[in-house]
Amino acid sequence: MGVLVVAESPKGQLKKAAFEAVHYAYLSAKNLGGEVIALVIGESSDAGQLGTYGANKVVRVDYNGGFDSGVMCSIITQVAEHVGAHSVILNHSSTGKSVASRVAVRLDAGLVSQVNSVPTKDGDAILVSKPVFSGKAIAHCKIEGPKRVLTLMGNALPPAEVGSTCPVELVSVDVPTSNVEVIEQKTVEGVVPLPEAELVVSAGRGMKDPGNWSIIEELANTIGATTACSRPVADTGWRPHHEHVGQTGVAIRPNLYIAAGISGAIQHLAGVNSSKCIVVINKDPEAPFFKAADYGVCADLFDVVPKLTEAFRKAQGA
């Protein structure tokens, strides 16, 4: 019996989210007992490095078809039974969220999604917490029964190196037929996707025109941040839809969120208020966002943003 953790490896590349999930599984296994088995679905040449973050063993399944939650569920539950998993851990990502609920039903396990704490034992049950009400509260949950499925919130617990590379076992499973066909994927290349980003620079209507975004991009590039935007900016087509953070857009939890020219409506805050540090740049001293910020700069963003970029550059050169 042990903890099975699904390590996402899109296009054969293990992501930081995979290291987070494996390390979380390692911490969970300490409390719940058993080994940590990491599951890699598809190609991967360096799956053994998951041992560094706490996996005792990697199970790899060769599947190179497109994403279908039903197929993924079938693969994961077959491996879970093969290794005798009492817990299954996935990332709270578009993939993990879509699959975890199916896995929970098929294994007859209790599901808590978007967990942000390491589970502890409470008799035969386990206790684990998760944010609710868009980060405005935390629910402390109890899962009864012998099996459970958890999805781990991104950027909640940093991965740490605790061991060395581990063996990789190739396991074959039955892959069911699928009614879902992936036609194409359109994703931005070369940048960290928003839900995984540690540093985010975001801007809103205060930018006045989409042509002004170069100062935001320059700031983001200087510190290696991902760019984001507020809802009105995405709705008017100034910025792409996938950059919209907030209640109806992407919910993020970076270490640093810099917001320029965003007033901080409650719907925007719902998507960003779990950020560890928030910097707000706004010329309106009454902007509600200042109340949710750690650091504020009350001035014209067209003046402040280039100065901030320059200050970061100077600090990097020092």
Binding site: G66, F67, S69, G70, S94, T95, K97, S98, A100, S101, A104, V105, G110, Q114, P131, V132, F133, K136, A137, I138, A139, H140, C141, K142, I143, S178, N179, V180, E181, V182, E184, Q185, V188, P193, L194, E196, L199, H242, H244, Q247, T248, N255, L256, A270, S274, C277, V279, F290, A293, D294, Y295, G296, V297, D303, V304, L308, E310, A311, F312, K314
Partner: protein
């Protein structure tokens, strides 16, 4: 087409979040409840558009007590043909999903819609659970959906972009922003909603492995520290040395 839309009742986005009974219950005092926006703006409206295009029916389904009838009537006012309420406490996503799946399983829907998540528990769990119970494909985070009567083409939001998939036969879909535009119910719709059928059925499944033991509020922010706009070096220093985020 025969379409089923799962709807939830949630506190309004601006509701004050507080708890009672030793922090074990959400404090409903003074809270305004609404139809979960993802269910209302995107799932329900796209279902109505498909009905307008292909003909058929749109049924809304909710799990909960009679206090939910107001939001169910709102969905009927927006245009759903009829409604079903499964009469039990929506104790967890598994209770909600198993009851909806057992009802839907007897009624052969072409598409079962959910919102991508509710804005209170943010679980994103119910859609996948329904799909698994029913043995159907689950297409999550849909921001665009076309259906030619037998085959659907769906654009799903994924990290840093989108994925386009096609699906044949019945399926479960979770709706994200972009799938449709919000519709405001008009007076005629509100009057008609009062006469539309709302069937109350008994729950089959009420046990859940998951429960909430207590709630807490996150640590409050220390308060904002204002920085001199002419001293961005100081902000960088604070981010490095005080906030330690660089």
């Amino acid at each position: 087409m025969k379409l089923l839309v799962c709807i939830s009742k949630t506190p309004d986005t601006t509701a004050k979040i507080a708890f009672t009974d030793g922090a074990t219950k959400f404090d409903e005092a003074g809270v305004q409840f609404i139809l979960n926006p993802y269910d209302e703006w995107y799932a329900l409206v796209r279902a109505l558009e498909l009905k307008e295009q292909h003909g058929g029916t749109v049924t809304v389904i909710n799990v909960g007590g009679s206090a939910n009838d107001a939001v169910i009537r709102k969905a009927l006012a927006i245009g759903a043909d009829d409604a079903v309420r499964i009469d039990t406490v929506a104790a967890s996503s598994s209770v909600v999903a198993s009851n909806i799946a057992s009802y839907a399983g007897e009624n052969n829907y072409d598409i079962v819609f959910t919102g991508k998540e509710t804005i209170d528990y943010n679980g994103s769990e119910v859609g996948g659970m329904i799909a698994e119970h029913m043995g159907l494909p689950y297409i999550s985070y849909a921001s665009h959906l076309d259906h030619d009567g037998s085959k659907a083409t769906v654009t799903r939001d994924i990290e840093g972009g989108v994925e386009v998939v096609s699906v044949t036969g019945p399926f479960v879909l979770s709706a994200a922003k972009g799938l449709a535009e919000q519709r405001i119910p008009n007076m005629r719709g509100i009057m008609m909603a009062k006469r539309k059928p709302l069937e109350v059925v008994k729950a089959k499944e009420t046990e859940s492995a998951v429960s909430v033991v207590s709630y807490s509020l996150p640590e409050e922010k220390q308060g904002v520290k204002m920085i001199d706009p002419d001293n961005m070096d100081e902000l960088v220093r604070l981010l490095k040395e005080e906030a330690k985020v660089l």
